[in-house]
Assembly symmetry: C2
Homo-oligomer: 291 residues x 2
């Protein structure tokens, strides 16, 4: 595995692959890698000839009072994991390399999607994400870019961004990796105390319970998504969570349609100082009408 | 010359050039071509192996009440001119091809630069420009993109955009082409009546007069840019112009620095219903200090 810290170095490292017209897969990360990231790398290897992983803790997607300065930076361990996972090129630029020394004037905004759910409690977050992803897309120029489904709204925004700005890049979502107790793997789980770690899986259990209620509803007109969400919120609040949102939406994040057959349950909640997010897709089997 | 109206067709047309690692020059236009555009094509041919010109009247950069619907569309004449000028590929997509049929959520904003000068009287204009240029850059993926210096602020914004979003594209400004009477060539000159056409060169004459005043100032501390601009405005207003702005700025569009040695004079003014813009760079020769 080759490690590059400059854009120029990355371009040089990728030149032979480009000349040979090899396909390039790209996994952008903020480091502190876990099995979820490694699954993205694995998927990239299956789809592409060359795999580039970036590690860049992007300051512009953190708000005031958020955890930019304390976000776990574990470069050596990450580097070892990526080499084992057959990453070809690790791109680990400095903040200056990505944002330069002159003031940046350009932002990429994904308008309506970015201002709700997580965007509501993290103003500017998704503009930071969309801008840095646009930069990284232009730097790496991959054929395929892979993102975790755990960050469901982020994935939806990046799909929109790629389509709206005509990026010639396939954006692939990769399923969430969970611990045995259901807790979605996340770098921020490292912030949780032992006590909080025993409570955190309640998010998954709550989503499972909502899923079951949706699937149990025989008459679609009686699907009360608002009630399901309220109950989910109550369950979590009874267990020390400070809930940001529990919502049921259509897969495109539009208002849940009772007559649809697929939805996504989305949860964001704080446990102590740690903000956790998770989601679960619910697909209703086709209704067989008796003859 | 090959003409393509779809993104897929353009990609196919460019595939052999990309495989052969030829350099691609790109000239985005809104059609109704004149000598100024053809100079861009000529410059592109000098710098690159393959030249792509787009003709696309971009709806999102026109405001309410502006001339989107009446903007001159002269495809056949343009096509002939481009073939003569040795354009290799003409890309002439429909609005649907560029913006799709689903609502677009993504915009590219070049913040402080876009809200002053022309951005002040054309709100949203430069967001429309920055967004469509980002799309076209991602569609054409050129090595070099060429823009006229006549649209000085637009060029400054696109330079920022390309740098800020890490586009791996050289943005080249090409000097303004003028009629013998000094009038900068522009598609919008076609809107002018015979009478207005005789008045329009006053913009150039006014900028020349300001230039002379700047160069005549022996003591830099006595450079009164505000006064020069005010006089220029008065001159134009005495000749039927409704002046939007006459300004003298640093080349980067920052506040004019008396101790600098290079500035740009920028003018926007309406003549009847037609909004004209122009600019002129002023460079003071180095002051020779006597021994």
């Amino acid at each position: 595995m080759r490690t590059e810290v400059t854009i120029q170095g990355l371009h040089a490292a990728l030149a032979p692959a480009r000349a040979a017209r090899k396909s390039i897969g790209f996994v952008p990360t903020m480091g502190n890698l876990h099995e979820g990231h490694l699954k993205l790398v694995q998927e990239a290897n299956q789809r592409c000839d060359v795999v580039v992983v970036s590690i860049f803790v992007n300051p512009t997607q953190f708000g005031a009072g958020e955890d930019f300065s304390t976000y776990p930076r574990t470069f050596e361990a990450d580097s070892n994991l990526l080499a084992e996972a057959k990453c070809d090129i690790l791109f680990a630029p400095s903040v200056e390399e990505i944002y330069g020394t002159q003031p940046q004037q350009t932002t990429v905004q994904v308008n309506s999607l970015a201002s709700e759910l997580c965007g509501n409690s993290r103003p500017g977050h998704f503009t930071g994400v969309a801008t840095v992803v646009s930069k990284l897309f232009n730097i790496v120029k991959p054929d395929v870019a892979l993102f975790g489904e755990k960050d469901y709204q982020q994935l939806a925004i990046i799909r929109h961004l790629a389509r709206d700005l005509c990026f010639d890049i396939d954006v692939i979502g990769v399923p969430t990796v969970r611990a045995e107790n259901g807790l979605a793997l996340s770098s921020r789980n490292g912030y949780l105390s032992e006590d909080e770690l025993t409570i955190a899986p309640a998010i998954y259990a709550t989503m499972q319970s909502i899923q079951q209620q949706i699937l149990a509803a025989k008459d679609p007109s009686k699907l009360n998504f608002t009630d399901f969400a309220k109950q989910g919120r109550k369950t979590l609040e009874s267990q020390k969570f400070v809930v940001d949102y529990v919502e049921i939406r259509n897969p495109d994040l539009g208002t849940a349609d009772k007559n649809g057959s697929k939805w996504v349950i989305l949860v964001a909640a704080k446990l102590g100082k740690t903000r956790l997010i998770d989601n679960m897709t619910v697909t209703r089997p086709a209704i067989v009408v008796e003859a």
